[in-house]
Amino acid sequence: MTLPLKYSILVIGGSAGSMSVLVELLNQLPSPFPIPVVIILHRLKNVESELDKLLSIRQPIAEPEDKEPLLQGNIYLAPQNYHLLIEEDGSFSLDYAEPVNFSRPAIDLTFSSAASVFGARSLGILLSGANKDGAAGLCRIIRAGGKGIAQRPDTAGFSIMPQAAIDLCRGVQPMTIKGMIDFLRNISIENKS
């Protein structure tokens, strides 16, 4: 018998100092992962970028196009210079509105969007970074009944971002990189059983 999945989406946000952590997570992430993974990184705009290829470590990572459906087992990277939102029909929707927290893509927007579509079935992880983007979004996920994890600030290259989330609301769970990897492996096993 297959139990219903506890989570329907994993959203990961990161900024300064998050690349190496992300690479480690992607290296250790069970593949294929049972739910769609969406990564939002603060990145440059209007430059040619191969970040998607760089992160295609164990499986190809794609930058979604507008209206593309989120598929189980896929890993997505928010494209540069757009906000990435999720529609209730389970498709992506891009937005070229003003930067939020000086950022486009803004982690807060994708996290909030995941919270409003998937509610308690959302799982958010906020990594190292040097501004407060993502904190409000992670709290939205927690208020919707989902789970919010922040990289333990003393293990982060830049602690401001995970610390902001921990300070903003109770319920954010600080974890080391190893803690996050164990947690993600467990979900994968739980989801399979």
């Binding site: 209007n46 979604p64 196009e65 209206k67 593309e68 937005d95 509105a97």
Partner: protein, 273 residues
């Protein structure tokens, strides 16, 4: 500020706006429009949806302020430099074969991409033979676009974009800098016509060799995208070009078979004969 608007309230708000003011947001992509609504409640110090409905029903001036705020009017000069480079290298040489070149910028916001196009055409020696029709649903945008005023602080980024797009001139020749605004050279405006056109409700008005509609489709749902692609198809000459935003796709559109890709990465398509 209202943090989240329920689906029921969202539908009500869209209906009120449509019935009272004639702007039809029914087929907009809901995720971003909902966010625009909630963001506006923060701006207008509105604490609940009832108050928002009440003001909308009773205060036309309030709606004018709101429509200004909920439409996304963000744009950049030479956004996605690789796209402009492709235009220079693959599209303009073909357009050069027409005696009069007609171009439509649909959803031009405050005109930054229209002026970028005018610069490309000027450099290719084609601007005198062009008529650029630049349209937007938002009248305030068009007033701003006509002025050709750009924030000076953005010019640094735009200069980089221009160079990456293959520009070889001194970019500062194209504008006059004030204290905090740069005014685009009026000569670049000589063949641009700005006017109001709403892609949701308005129709074909001319025939074009190139239609640029970049980062407008992202705000529409598939039904509305379908309608607008049809409108563009009917507005293009055979083999006319259609340019969309770099992450926009015809893939989810039934009309896609009437177009062929010219440059898939930069989302340039061509109407089949």
């Amino acid at each position: 500020m209202v943090e989240e608007i329920s689906n029921g309230d969202f539908t009500d708000l869209v209906k009120i706006i449509q019935q009272r003011y004639g702007y039809d947001f029914t087929d907009y992509a809901p995720a971003s429009l909902k966010r625009r609504f909630t963001r506006f409640t923060g701006f207008a110090h509105i604490s609940n949806v009832f108050e928002l409905k009440h003001r909308l029903l009773n205060d036309a001036g309030f709606f004018q302020e709101m429509v200004q705020y909920i439409t996304v009017n963000v744009t950049e000069m030479f956004r996605d430099p690789a796209f402009y480079k492709t235009l220079r290298e693959q599209v303009l040489p073909r357009l050069a074969s027409y005696p009069i070149i007609k171009i439509w910028h649909a959803g031009c916001a405050s005109g930054e991409e229209v002026y970028s196009m005018a610069i490309l055409l000027e450099e290719a020696g084609l601007l005198d033979r062009c008529r650029i029709y630049a349209t937007d649903m938002n009248a305030a945008n068009l007033r701003k676009a006509k002025k050709g005023a750009v924030a000076l602080k953005d010019m640094k980024d735009y200069t980089c974009n221009y160079i990456q797009s293959g520009g070889v001139n001194d970019f500062s020749n194209y504008y006059t800098a004030g204290c905090d605004t740069a005014i685009i050279d009026a000569a670049l405006r000589r063949n641009i016509i700005f006017f109001q056109h709403n892609l949701v409700t308005d129709q074909v008005f001319n025939e074009f060799q190139l239609i640029c509609c970049r980062n407008v489709f992202i705000y529409f749902n598939r039904t509305l995208q379908e309608r607008v692609v049809k409108l563009f198809y009917e507005s293009l000459t055979s083999l006319g070009y259609l340019a969309l935003g770099i992450k926009e796709s015809l893939l989810y559109n039934d009309e896609r078979f009437k177009f062929e890709p010219v440059n898939a990465a930069n989302k340039i398509f061509r109407r089949k004969v």
